[in-house]
């Protein structure tokens, strides 16, 4: 039997949940890449590489950090802004980092404005509109993140990552677990460390994102 791997799509309409295909969540101190458990350090390195390779590396902060419902949330928001600023400093000409919020989970119809927000029920609209080829979810409740990650995998070629405050996301292509301010800052450090060592994939990224 071929082992299922969580890879950039478009996989097909309604892709299976990665868990149902045998993908396990990492233990504390670990992450996963494409569904393979790795030491957390490896996940930092790969996440930073993916950001630096992408044409439109994007952070999607969710309600758990956008709303200052406690002190920790506000601190995470500050760390996310720092990570975004670091991305902007470290990318090369032609790369456009973005920071797009997911303020809540209501299925917004008749329309959302994909330029200014992402909605978990049709995240592909924001990915397509902005030609996002690499993204990271931070502060999105788990079930909404998994739903969203599955839709993105089903319909787009975007490389998805999750900085999850709980046990991680098997439906992302790369996932951390137990997210904290320190971990977000550490990822920013890794981006800085790898600055200039990664060749951006500008042409292939464009064709990937337009799928």
């Amino acid at each position: 039997m071929i082992q299922y791997r969580v890879l950039p799509g478009p996989e097909h309409f309604l892709p299976p949940s990665a868990a149902s295909m045998g993908i396990c969540l990492p233990n504390p101190g670990e992450g996963h890449i494409n569904g393979v458990i790795v030491p957390e350090e490896k996940a930092y390195e790969e996440a930073a590489k993916q950001f630096l390779m992408a044409k439109v590396p994007t952070l999607f902060p969710g309600p758990l950090v956008l709303w200052a419902w406690n002190e920790k949330a506000a601190k995470k928001a500050t760390a996310i802004r720092h990570l975004y600023n670091t991305l902007k400093e470290c990318v090369q000409p032609g790369q456009t980092p973005m920071l797009i919020p997911m303020p809540d989970y209501r299925p917004k119809y008749p329309k959302i404005n994909p330029e200014v927000e992402i909605n978990p029920n049709h995240p592909n609209l924001t990915i397509w509109h902005n030609k996002i080829d690499c993204c990271m979810f931070i502060g999105v409740h788990c079930h909404q993140a998994n739903l969203s990650l599955k839709i993105i995998r089903g319909g787009t070629a975007c490389y998805t990552m999750a900085m999850c405050a709980q046990a991680g996301h098997e439906d992302a292509m790369l996932s951390f677990r137990d997210a904290s301010v320190e971990k977000i800052m550490k990822l920013a450090e890794w981006v800085k460390k790898l600055k200039g060592t990664v060749q951006p994939q500008l042409t292939s990224a464009k064709s990937r994102a337009s799928n």
Binding site: V65, A77, N113
Partner: protein, 301 residues
């Protein structure tokens, strides 16, 4: 209780879509005497809607959302129908229930909230169409009232199943022919206000939504009585202009015509004795407050 709980993280404030920024800046969460007069002066708790242009349900939504006494601690329960298309745009916690199940969901929710937040006032308000309330959900509607569940049930009575193209409902008038009910209704409009009274509702009102001040009054009464005493029921005429062949601008007149004393939506109200007492106490307190404010103003002058 107020907006302290509704703050945007400073470092991400600038990326929040403007509707959320406006909600935090100028919505009337936490305002004690909020009401329909805030419409136009503050951010409404409804962003936009996908109802037909001129649908009176949209007016009803705006007045109700402006009048809820405690929106930040209110959970609304909706059901399938035209109303359910609006809820995604409503900035009050809400749950969409399976068609007809709304009063069962609300019963469990109200009980769970009182266990989870024992010291805090949490209001539950059901808002569903007549098909959901009176036909498919009648069992759940009545059982919640029999059990004296402490929440408000609001029925948007448009006298048919609008969202599915015009089928007959229990609240349809006798003889009415709808697009998908060509034979015409063979029996009378179900007398749900009377049934509500007999089933144990402490406050029952039937009216149209032509007057925002009246909607504000009955919403506030219904929510406060449900909070303190037991179930309350509001049946609001929100005509489906599409199905009765009216234009966008004609919904208001249709309501005015139907609320005349001899018409089927003439104002109707039942109040139980304990509820009357509560309303009297509330009125006395409001009077006291007004007098105190007047005195304070006079002293300052």
């Amino acid at each position: 209780m107020s907006k302290e709980r509704i703050k945007i993280s400073e470092d991400l404030y600038d990326i929040m879509p403007s509707d959320y920024q406006d909600l935090v800046k100028s919505a009337t969460y936490g305002k004690e005497d909020r009401g329909w007069k805030d419409i136009g002066n503050s951010k409404e708790l409804i962003e936009q809607h996908s109802l037909c242009a001129g649908c009176p349900e949209s007016m009803a939504f705006r007045y109700i959302l402006a009048s809820l006494p405690n929106p930040e601690d209110t959970v609304m329960v909706g059901s399938t129908g035209c109303t359910s298309l609006v809820f995604p745009m409503v900035a009050v916690h809400n749950i969409h229930s399976l068609f007809g199940n709304q009063n069962a969901i609300a019963s469990g929710l109200k009980r769970a909230l009182s266990v989870r937040f024992p010291g805090r006032t949490k209001d539950v308000v059901v808002l569903a169409g007549d098909g959901a309330t009176v036909d498919i959900g009648l069992d759940m509607t009545l059982q919640a009232w029999f059990r004296q569940e402490k929440f408000t049930t609001i029925c948007f009575d448009n006298e048919l199943y609008a969202n599915t193209g015009g089928q007959e409902s229990g609240l349809m008038q006798k003889g009415f022919v709808a697009k998908m009910a060509p034979v015409g209704k063979l029996f009378d409009k179900v007398r749900l206000p009377e049934i509500a009274r007999e089933s144990g509702c402490h406050y029952v009102v039937q009216c149209t939504v032509s007057k925002p001040s009246l909607v504000e009054k009955v919403i506030k009464n219904a929510v406060m009585i449900a909070r303190e005493i037991g179930p309350t029921y509001l049946q609001l005429y929100t005509p489906c202009i599409l199905e009765i062949g009216k234009n966008s601008m004609e919904g208001l007149q249709e309501m005015r015509d139907s609320e005349k004393p001899t018409e089927r939506f003439a104002y109707k109200e039942y109040i139980s004795e304990p509820a009357k007492q509560l309303l009297a106490e509330m009125a006395a307190k409001a009077q006291e407050k007004k007098a105190a404010a007047k005195q304070l103003a006079a002293q300052g002058a």
